[in-house]
């Protein structure tokens, strides 16, 4: 199977140093089960090769690094590359962990390349059956459409082990990117170090002070329904409540 995995650089949540992104390592673990030598593609600066080698340490032979200047629209670069090197399946992490972290890149690629997209995959087996993550312990299994893009869930396991020797031995092919289309994706967004606190949106109150006070006085936090009686009655009432919520047949 012709498989391509997109990898990005993450940021350590405490130290802020660039490192491999765990989400992309999850995508690599899914890819490894399908193919021995998937193609790894990174768009970024050639100066970050040392950090990228962490991905090679997970057991891959080569990375294609397409050069781009900071702030450049990486989707434009990727689309051009993917048109030139078509693949049967494109895997990405659910979202970057150290960039803009919007999770939009796979959606933009799917839209521009006219490919189906499957989100939050946990694993894909050799028959092409994908297991999708759903909350509350639910899972969905379905066939992977042809020529599709799949994002790998943040809940997928981190299976691959890092070996320093492999990180040194792998190769990074630096490819020139196009510098024509340098349009930025996000207009008007400003990034700065995180500050604590937030203002919560609220509708301006037209009530008088007395009304607000009265409301506070009236809503005494007094619990819900209290059932007294024999244990059998209590059990029957709780069971009927659970049946209403369709938790018990």
């Amino acid at each position: 199977m012709n498989l391509t995995v997109l990898i990005s650089l993450g940021r350590h949540p405490k130290s802020g140093r660039l490192m491999l992104s765990p989400n992309d390592a999850r995508a690599l673990a899914v890819a490894r089960r399908l193919s021995d030598s998937p193609r790894l593609v990174h768009v970024g600066e050639a100066s970050q090769q040392q950090t990228l080698r962490q991905y090679l340490g997970l057991g891959f032979a080569a990375i294609d690094l397409i050069e781009a200047v900071p702030g450049q629209d990486i989707c434009g670069v990727l689309i051009e590359d993917l048109r030139r090197n078509p693949c049967d399946l494109l895997l990405t992490g659910e979202r970057a962990q150290g960039q803009d972290d919007t999770g939009l890149v796979p959606y933009i690629l799917a839209d521009r390349l006219q490919r189906p997209l499957l989100d939050r995959v946990l694993s894909i087996d050799a028959q092409g059956q994908a297991t999708q993550f759903l909350p509350k312990g639910q899972r969905r299994v379905m066939a992977l459409p042809a020529q599709c893009i799949a994002t790998v869930s943040e809940n997928a396991p981190l299976e691959l082990e890092y070996v320093a020797r492999r990180a040194r031995q792998g190769v990074i092919n630096v490819l020139p990117g196009n510098t024509g289309d340098c349009a930025q994706v996000y207009h008007g967004w400003q990034q700065e170090p995180k500050q604590p606190g937030r203002t919560r949106l609220s509708i301006q109150s037209t009530a008088s002070g007395w009304d607000r006070f009265a409301k506070r006085m009236n809503t005494t936090g007094g619990g819900g329904q209290v059932l007294k009686g024999s244990p059998d009655q209590g059990a029957a009432q709780v069971l009927s409540l659970l049946r209403d919520k369709k938790l018990v047949p």
Partner: protein, 364 residues
């Protein structure tokens, strides 16, 4: 020179109670009758929005007919955005049939669009986008508000915004009248931008959820959308014992009041619920550490939390603040858990569990 003393409380102000004691209420002229602060009980004014100039759209998924707190927050965000500027209507599109007892007037929804076709419960994101684009074209809303949720909302928001070429802001933890804020750089930076056309909000963007008015909502079934062909897929649930506590939907939790853990496990198995416990139980070694609920344990977001013999210490209650329905079983009627619970049973834990077991085994 002398300063004239002004007596702010004249003889006419105030009233005499039945016991003959004179009472003066400041800032308010009260007769003795209206002492009880009954103002909150009066009916809220009804807001009509026939001649609104703008529209706002909220897109939600109804799971088993219920709305989560986050869904309510998204509606509140849209309502608050509609209050800024000229009069606006808040439309809500729900996938799945909502419970008839949901009070959309209280939530501040002007028009409810329901897409209750069962086939939308399958993985048909393209069909959902199509339905949404159709409604979007009809209403031309100023903004579309989504929630960030793994039930398909986050996915739909991104697909829709990209397909329509609209500006998008996701994972928003702050929304104001002109700007939004989100985290980037793996939580180390904040990115702030102008209000986008498509918003996907996290929990905590709003404070209070209560409105001071109600709306007169009307429900319309969405027209002109072809139901999708359900793809071949299978849905399954992990065995309840394997579900991590943070993910679990139905949790049964034991406290110090549970004397017999075997009965407890038997009941959990019959109910097919995920097992948890208070710190005391875990410290006693009756349950593994990853099953502890509370400040130093796990935060559960279950739709039903069944607390058996748990006193409800603050450290424990912190772990269940996101649970929808809490059911408490305790022999002590005055404990804090019963104040938090939506339904409480005053009974001995062992007897009640035995009653549950025989009731469940009695049913075929």
């Amino acid at each position: 020179m002398s300063i004239r003393r002004v007596n702010r409380f004249t003889q006419e102000r105030g009233f005499v109670t039945a016991e003959g004691i004179k009472r003066v209420a400041r800032a308010r002229d009260v007769t003795g009758l209206d002492q009880a602060p009954a103002a909150a009980a009066k009916a809220k004014p009804v807001r009509h929005s026939e001649n609104a100039e703008r529209n706002l759209l909220v897109v939600l998924h109804c799971k088993a007919g219920e709305l989560s707190t986050l869904d309510r927050e998204a509606i509140y965000v849209a309502r608050a955005l509609s209050e800024m500027g000229s009069q606006a209507q808040v439309h809500t599109l729900v996938f799945g049939a909502p419970n008839p007892n949901l009070d959309w007037a209280e939530f501040g929804v002007d028009q409810l669009h329901v897409l209750a076709d069962e086939r939308f419960e399958h993985y048909v994101p393209e069909a959902k986008v199509q339905a949404l684009v159709h409604l979007h074209g009809q209403l031309e809303p100023e903004r579309v508000v989504f929630v960030e949720s793994e039930l398909g909302d986050s996915d739909l928001a991104r697909r829709f915004a990209i397909a329509q070429g609209l500006s998008f802001g996701g994972d928003l933890y702050e929304v104001t009248d002109h700007s939004v804020r989100r985290l980037s750089g793996n939580g180390r930076y904040q990115a702030s931008g102008p209000l986008p056309q498509v918003l996907a909000v996290q929990s905590g963007t709003t404070g209070d959820l209560d409105l001071e008015f109600v709306t007169a909502p009307n429900t319309v079934a969405v027209q002109g959308v072809d139901a999708p062909v359900a793809p071949e897929e299978s849905l399954f649930s992990l065995p309840s014992g394997d579900i991590p506590l943070v993910e679990a939907d139905f949790v049964i939790s034991a406290g110090n009041g549970v004397a017999n853990m075997d009965t407890f496990h038997r009941l959990a198995q019959l109910l097919d619920a995920t097992v948890a416990g208070s710190r005391v139980v875990v410290d006693d070694g009756k349950l593994p550490r990853e099953r502890q609920v509370g400040a130093t344990g796990q935060i559960v977001k279950a739709s039903v939390y069944l607390a058996i013999g748990i006193s409800g210490a603050v450290q424990h209650l912190q772990g269940i603040k996101d649970c929808n329905t809490v059911i408490a079983v305790n022999s002590d009627e005055s404990c804090d858990m019963i104040k938090r619970a939506d339904v409480s049973v005053i009974a001995d834990a062992e007897e009640w569990m035995q009653a549950m077991i025989s009731a469940l085994e009695g049913t075929p």
